[in-house]
Amino acid sequence: MVISPVHYIALPLLAAFLMPLLAKVNRELVRIIPGVVLTYLLFVSVVLMQRVTETGQPIIETLAGWQAPWGINLVFSQFTGFLVSLMVFMATLIWIFSYRFKKVDNEPALKYYILFMMLVTGSVGVVLTGDIFNMFVFMEITAIASYSLTSFYRDRDGAEAGFKYLLIGSLASTFMLLAILLLYTQVGTLNMAMIAERMHTVPVGMKVTILILFLTGLGIEAEMFPLNGWAPDAYSQAPSPVGATFAALVVKAGVYSLIRVIFTLFDIQGAYQYLIIMGIITLIIAEFAAMKQTNLKRMLAYSSIGQMGFVLIAFGIGTKEAVFGALFLMFNHAIIKSLLFMSGSFFVYNSTSKDINGMSGIGKKFPYMGFLFSIGAFAIVGLPPFSGFWSKLYILIAAADESMLALVAIILLVSIVEIVYYFRVVAKLYFGKPTDKEVVHKPTFGGYFSMTVLAVVILLVGFYPDIITGFIHRAADTLLDKGAYISNVLSMGH
């Protein structure tokens, strides 16, 4: 079998639809199949990343034999390849973490794994596709899987969070559909490279209208203010591995689509300032809201929104260093926030309430979990020698290079807020008075394994950032080189 980017989309989708049948053959297959698919995709990622790095050329896959501007194509470049590999890596770890999910009951486990595979298909597809309408379709696959996963538990307020998410999400998808329609009437094509090439013929007023519709539609998944009302509820009501999935896959796909639309499709200077301003508002509001939260998962959700604001700021600065910092931060956010959600979920299980106060002294009874959570907390606020330090440093340097000193000041001030609310939790874990409650829910072996891997990655990247910076540098170069993207995709037809 020839390895190609199509496998990223075809295999998880096939697995998702075959699983109900396979469940009839053997109950255990439901849990094994997603792992087999994801491990294979990890192998595909390694092979394709190596090929792309060696040749320096993106792999462009045309589907159903239709060449570039007419058919749908998949673009596996150093930028999209980096994001896809990150997503698949995270999905594999989340699968290991949730291998024993709903052990006693097979029916919910089946539903969970089907939706999980759909989510992987959708968010990987958003990143790989080179067609704007196809991106919309993958966005909707991701969204529908997310709505269902949010409302997975019947006994919580999941349905309410899910409905809220659905309401915002489907309005957003309508806006995106309108944007695609207007764009199609203006440029007469749906291929993103072709759109980028013909964009200069579109009148400015029309361009701005389309861009605003796109930003509204895509800002939802990217957790951009003021479209992120769904996030805290969804993160706190969804099952814990799903919280990690949102942080590692769904939000990354949202940010990717936003960046692709602004950087490749449109060439409006004001869009970058808009990103900075929205990023600052998102960052400040989210971090202050996080400080006020008493519920651990809601706090982590707001912190996640804040991090995305930070990513938007970095992309908005727009220089090569800033884009490098932003991609580095996206990588860090995926690994660190997943670790926090995974380890935090065990504190929530074992405490009297979901509140941070209920976790008093749990770090003493649960030393390894407390240690992992602390690594995550230290890493996300940007303490050296953890990986979060480097991304924050690179973004600050990039902002200072552009002499945006006010921005540097805001980022540093908000970092203090971040330190306050994360250290409050860590202090509670270790120095709080232990409650009488026994530790009943211990992580499974898979849980320990995936959390340990994440912690090791955080430390490894913290000490030797060079192992990852090469990939991120090339990814940033590829993203900024719009001309190469257009010529690579369109030359396939000639």
């Binding site: 309408f133 379709v137 909707e140 969204a143 529908i144 709505y147 269902s148 409302s151 019947r154 307020d157 349905a159 309410e160 969070a161 899910g162 409905f163 809220k164 659905l166 309401l167 489907s170 309005l171 998808s173 309508t174 559909l177 309108l178 695609i180 329609l181 199609y184 009437t185 749906l190 509820d233 009501q237």
Partner: protein, 128 residues
């Protein structure tokens, strides 16, 4: 009737009803308190957008975009084909809209069973 005027009336009618549908749907989503009415609003908005898509791809007197002997013959005689792309997009969008509506309604049922009400202002476990 004057054909130009006729075309104008038709296009104003089609685009007007598309935008009208979108506005009606938005009104339902933003103002109505009943969950089912909100879901109906969402699907009315969808219908408006779909109508807009079809209107954009339409050419008056154009033939169906099918690559058949009859179609090729008609094109050779100078008949235009309507744009097939918006039609394909609409087909996809309808399916997606159907999926979203189904998920939304199932959530409404879950909410109703949980809270014994379908009014959005009576469901307040989370902050809205």
């Amino acid at each position: 009737m004057d054909p130009i005027l006729y075309n104008k009336i038709i296009s104003v009618g089609v685009y007007g009803s598309a935008i009208g549908l979108i506005l009606i749907g938005l009104y339902a989503v933003l103002v109505k308190k009943h969950l089912t009415k909100i879901v109906i609003g969402l699907s009315i908005i969808d219908s408006g957008v779909h109508l807009l898509f079809i209107a954009v791809g339409f050419i008056k007197g154009g033939t169906a975009p099918i690559f058949s002997e009859k179609g090729i013959e008609l094109v050779n005689q100078g008949t235009a084909m309507v744009d097939p792309v918006p039609q394909a997009l609409v087909l996809t969008a309808i399916v997606i809209g159907f999926g979203v509506t189904a998920v939304a309604l199932s959530l409404v049922i879950r909410l109703y069973r949980h809270h014994h009400t379908a009014r959005i202002d009576h469901i307040k476990s989370l902050k809205w």
